[in-house]
């Protein structure tokens, strides 16, 4: 079983990202589970959401403490929240930042991918909502979900031009990380 923890702030769509990543994984033929850290939802407050991937039915219900993967939607969280907590060798971190040399202690053996998802989201969607862009980065960096299931997940959630725009944002991130991964 592999586990993903998404760090964001209320309003950035972390819970939606968890749902859509898990849906794409399920479409790809594995068992998956998505759930939020059930906080008191407030716009701007640090939030977490989780995804599990497994070849067998998933029974575990605890939150994710030792993630294989993390997505950090908001670079200002680093410092406020120990986003790398519980990560170990082989882990993969996808961090939205325009400054690749962000200041944080990364656990040994954790591969970090940085991407300026905010700029991509602003250019493609016109709003700084980075969840769908980071889903593309996650797909490329980890291989847990394919690009086609991811597009299907986005089409299931958004309609018409909104779906197209989100797919374009995810694809840009996928291609950008794909070169690095």
């Amino acid at each position: 079983m592999r586990e993903l923890r998404i760090h964001g702030r209320g309003g950035q769509g972390s819970v939606t990202a968890a749902e859509l990543i898990a849906y794409a994984a399920f479409e790809g033929g594995v068992f998956s589970q998505a759930f939020p850290a059930f906080g008191v939802e407030r716009r701007g407050a640090p939030v977490q959401a989780f995804v599990r991937f497994s070849d067998e039915k998933i029974r575990l219900r605890s939150q994710v403490y030792e993630p294989d993967y993390i997505i950090v939607q908001d670079p200002t969280l680093i410092g406020d929240v120990d986003v790398f907590n519980g990560m170990s060798t082989g882990g993969i971190a996808i961090i939205n930042t325009e400054k690749p040399d962000f200041d944080s202690r990364v656990p040994e053996g954790v591969k970090v991918y940085t991407i300026d998802a905010t700029t991509i989201a602003l250019e493609e969607l016109g709003v700084p909502i980075t969840n769908t862009t980071l889903m593309g980065a996650f797909a490329a960096a980890t291989g847990e979900i394919g690009l086609e299931p991811l597009k299907n997940a986005l089409r299931r959630r958004f309609s018409g031009s909104m779906a197209d725009k989100n797919i374009k944002a995810a694809e840009r991130a996928y291609n950008q990380i794909g070169g690095a991964a």
Binding site: A18, E19, A22, Y23, F26, E27, F31, S32, Q33, A34, F35, P36, F38, V40, I58, R59, L60, R61, S62, Q63, Y65
Partner: protein
């Protein structure tokens, strides 16, 4: 066919297929998504039901009670403070023998205010006469709704039921679920055939005044119906298994219990985490198993005693507390095992949404094997 969806949405989908004729509910976290979905389905004419919007949970269940007495299949859903507000109507619904099915998205009770999960709400209605079924995952939640209607509407039973699933932990989790088709549900669950109904041509009264010469017999009849519900559940669960391949013919379900020295006993979603923890403990050479209680009411005392007859130590996980006494499940498991010589310890755990990890389950097993129990597990002593 498995579909990927949120637990609350899965509940709404199966309730739709159970064809309720009247739905009355008041939204409350974490039940909200269920009733939002159902309200939308009614508005879209996907369900041929009357959706009664009400100003409180007291009115919601009162509306269901009246509609049920008038001969309709009814549905409601609530949690926590909402269920507390229904307290009086719950006793009346059972006493009037109305087969109402209500989903409980289990949540703690205030004060202090908490929106998070434990099972204090439904457990606190244990003496109301309602059947209480607890689900481990969202598939079981879906399936128990169909079984609940079948058991409740059986003319030998005629009792209301809670289908309990852990708030947030299941209600807000997306996972694969098989939702039976309308045709499949219709084949399993026939149209509601009321035993009696309010009828202006043949007037009846429900819940009339009972003098001391009659009251006790009414209570006795409810208790007898609860006892009969064990066989009705087993039968309905077996029929479900025959049709859908998922067997629910057991009131309790063992996991790796065959040669276990120590058994955990639990209800609801914590059973999933416990099973993963047990696999790890087994790999480390510990003989540990789990007994999952599916029906808290009727309480399967004999089935529990039979299932646990081979173990020496029992650790009960209670997501509730009868303040001043102990956990409700542990108290009844101790009574079920009275005189057996088995050591039974109770652990109050996960109140108000405190997360439970595999290592917590292992720690409880260690405590029980050391003979330390009847305690709150995981207290933050630094804040006491």
């Amino acid at each position: 066919m498995l579909e990927f969806m949120e637990g609350s949405h899965a509940v709404a989908e199966i309730v739709k297929r159970c064809r309720p004729q009247v739905i009355a509910a008041y939204p409350i976290t974490p039940q909200t998504h269920i009733v939002e979905d159902l309200a939308q389905m009614v508005a879209n004419c996907e369900i041929d039901a009357e959706y009664i919007t009400v100003e409180s949970e007291f009115s919601a269940l009162s509306a269901c009670l009246g509609a049920s007495a008038a001969g309709s299949r009814v549905y409601s859903a609530t949690t926590s403070q909402g269920l507390a507000l229904m307290f009086e109507v719950c006793f009346n619904a059972a006493g009037m023998r109305q087969p109402i099915v209500m989903t409980i998205a289990n949540r703690s009770l205030g004060a202090p205010l908490s929106i998070w999960n434990d099972q204090q709400d439904s457990i606190s209605l244990r003496d109301s006469g309602w059947l209480q079924f607890y689900a481990e995952d969202n598939q079981e939640t879906v399936d128990l709704h169909m079984i609940a209607y079948k058991v409740c509407e059986d003319h030998d039973i005629l009792l209301p039921a809670f289908v309990c699933f852990d708030g947030f932990i299941l209600s807000h989790t997306y996972e694969p679920v098989a939702i039976p088709t309308q045709e499949e549900v219709d084949a399993y669950l026939p149209a509601f055939n009321p035993y009696q109904r309010l009828d202006a041509e043949n007037p009846l009264s429900f819940g009339m005044y009972a003098t001391p010469e009659y009251y006790m017999e009414f209570r006795y009849e409810v208790d007898r119906a609860q006892q009969r519900a064990k066989d009705a559940f087993i039968k309905a669960g077996r029929e479900f298994g025959e049709q859908f391949g998922r067997d629910y013919s057991a009131l309790v379900e063992g996991y790796r219990l065959e040669d276990a020295d120590t058994a955990l006993v639990a209800m609801g979603s914590i059973c999933g985490t416990a099973k993963d923890a047990i696999d790890e403990m087994r790999d480390a050479g510990k003989k540990v198993g789990l007994l999952k209680i599916r029906t808290f009411r009727p309480f399967p005392a004999q089935e529990i005693a039979a299932a646990l007859s081979g173990v020496s130590t029992v650790a009960v996980l209670d997501k509730n507390i009868s303040l001043g006494s102990g956990g409700a499940v542990g108290t009844e498991v101790k009574a079920a095992l009275y005189g057996s010589g088995i050591s039974v310890y109770d652990y109050i755990i996960a109140l108000g949404g405190r997360d439970v990890r595999k290592r917590d389950i292992a720690a409880v097993v260690d405590l029980a094997e050391k003979g330390e129990g009847d305690m709150f597990y995981g207290l933050r002593t630094e804040v006491l």
